[in-house]
């Protein structure tokens, strides 16, 4: 399969890349890992006139810590999450997610920022970032602005980014002590998108009482879904079995799945219930110091 022709640009600085996007207009597409864009170009689902490849801009491939935040640069690849010590120890939810995205070969190219910028409700990181309360930094002609992740996915395959903006960083607050997270995804085989996926991140006040709960749902709606009712229900409660089951039912009722080859809407809604309960229990174990 051969994509339509395009003109190729390879800027060496962010400023240059933004200026190119501004000059070339909406017919230009940014290329980072290319693991969504290139397959779509080969199928001719998209045929941009101009490609702006940001891979040669130095200094964007970082996963670092500063000011109480984990920072993930535009060119940090999925496989870097799998091997990062700080991610493994402080953000097990992110490490869980990276392991089940696509396959190792795709992960050695695909970027974490691209996973959000693509705006696909089937992608796994949007749910994770919703659960973690991340912010994204967009860099454009007017400089940088910060967007809360819950405002980032207004509709199917659309994001809050303007055409001339680049998602340059994901910023995630370090979880307080006694926090834990978990990502559970049902996939038919390695490399498949989720039949459904649930990301959970909780913080405990004492042994059992929950002070913050973040829950994100993958591939059960037109956009990634933040299960706000389930989150609010859990806040201030002791996480016993009955509470967990009730929260899981709320999360299921907040999902909006559709029938497709991966399953019926009813099946997927029930899957959200089951995965939410399991992920909450796993997150609870981790918040108490388990693996």
């Amino acid at each position: 399969m051969i994509p339509r022709s395009f003109e190729y640009y390879s800027p060496r600085t962010l400023d240059e890349a933004v200026a190119l996007l501004q000059k070339l207009g909406p017919e230009a597409k940014l290329l980072s890992g290319g693991q969504s864009l290139i397959p779509m170009m080969k199928l001719r689902l998209v045929s941009p006139e101009y490609i702006v490849d940001i891979n040669r801009i130095p200094g964007l491939d970082y996963i670092s810590e500063s000011d109480g935040h984990l920072r993930i640069g535009a060119l940090a690849r999925e496989h870097q999450l799998e091997s990062s010590e700080v991610v493994k120890t402080k953000f097990p939810l992110l490490a869980d997610t990276a392991k089940v995205i696509a396959d190792p070969l795709v992960r050695s190219q695909a970027t974490v920022c691209g996973n959000l910028a693509h705006g696909d409700p089937a992608n796994d990181h949007p749910a994770t970032m919703l659960a973690l309360g991340a912010k994204v930094i967009a860099t454009g002609p007017q400089g940088q602005r910060e967007i809360a992740i819950e405002d980032f996915f207004p509709g199917l395959f659309t994001t809050a980014l303007e055409a001339e903006e680049i998602l340059t960083e994901i910023k995630i607050p370090f979880p307080p002590p006694r926090s834990g997270g978990s990502y559970l995804k049902l996939e038919r085989k390695v490399g498949d998108f989720a039949t459904a996926g649930v990301a959970v991140q909780i913080t405990l006040e004492d042994a059992e009482t929950c002070t913050r709960a973040g829950i994100g749902l993958t591939n059960v709606g037109m956009t990634p879904i933040k299960a706000k009712q389930a989150e609010a229900f859990l806040t201030g409660k002791k996480l016993d079995e009955a509470t967990i089951q009730q929260a899981a039912e709320l999360a299921a009722s907040e999902s909006q799945p559709m029938d497709d080859i991966r399953g019926s809407a009813d099946y997927k809604r029930d899957l959200v219930r089951v995965l939410t309960a399991r992920a909450l229990k796993h997150a609870l174990d981790r918040a108490k110091g388990g693996a």
Binding site: I2, G34, P39, D103, L105, V190
Partner: protein
């Protein structure tokens, strides 16, 4: 569409070629350079038959443009054998019968080249995780896992002085 010049090192040899930006890396390797060891399997980014190493990372060459390789180093299956001596992985696939039809083998070898270069004492689980993007429809993977284990042991014993030597 206008062609653009690229400079790519493939298996240590520099190439200066003019190409169309839409040319996929796998087509560049197979058709421009006639390095047909890299296979095209599914052509939809799923099977891993086209795996090559670019600047030390194992990637699907059907899901990269050749122009992205400008200024970079590529290694293909043709680059594994050194001075007439098989790489321990190639030896492992031979000794352990790690292939039947052989179609997935170049990709399996290149994935293994990077993987064993960073972990030469892997568990079976780690091997299975590492090859989960490379599909094989013949072997059931059992002998591929054994081939990796054979190679890992050879590399630990230092039988091959290379390990990650050729990773650019």
């Amino acid at each position: 569409m206008a062609k653009v010049p690229i400079n790519v090192k493939v298996n240590g040899v520099e190439h200066n070629v003019d190409i169309e930006p839409r040319l996929l890396l796998v087509h560049f390797l197979r058709e421009n350079l006639r390095l047909t060891g890299t296979h095209i399997g599914c052509d939809t980014s799923h099977c891993g038959a086209c795996t090559v190493v670019m600047d030390g990372r194992a990637i699907k060459s059907c899901t990269a443009f050749a122009v992205q390789a400008d200024g970079r180093s590529i290694m293909t299956v043709e680059g594994l054998e050194q001075d007439g001596k098989l790489h321990p992985l190639q030896d492992g696939f031979f000794q352990e019968h790690g292939l039947q039809c052989g179609y997935c083998t170049p990709g399996m070898l290149m994935t293994g080249y990077v993987f064993l270069g960073t972990n030469n004492n892997p568990t079976e689980d780690e091997i299975r995780h590492a090859i989960s993007g490379n599909l094989c429809r013949c072997t059931g993977y059992v002998n591929i896992v054994k081939a990796y284990q054979y190679a890992a042991q050879k590399m630990r014993e230092g039988g091959a002085e290379d390990g990650a030597k050729n990773i650019a």
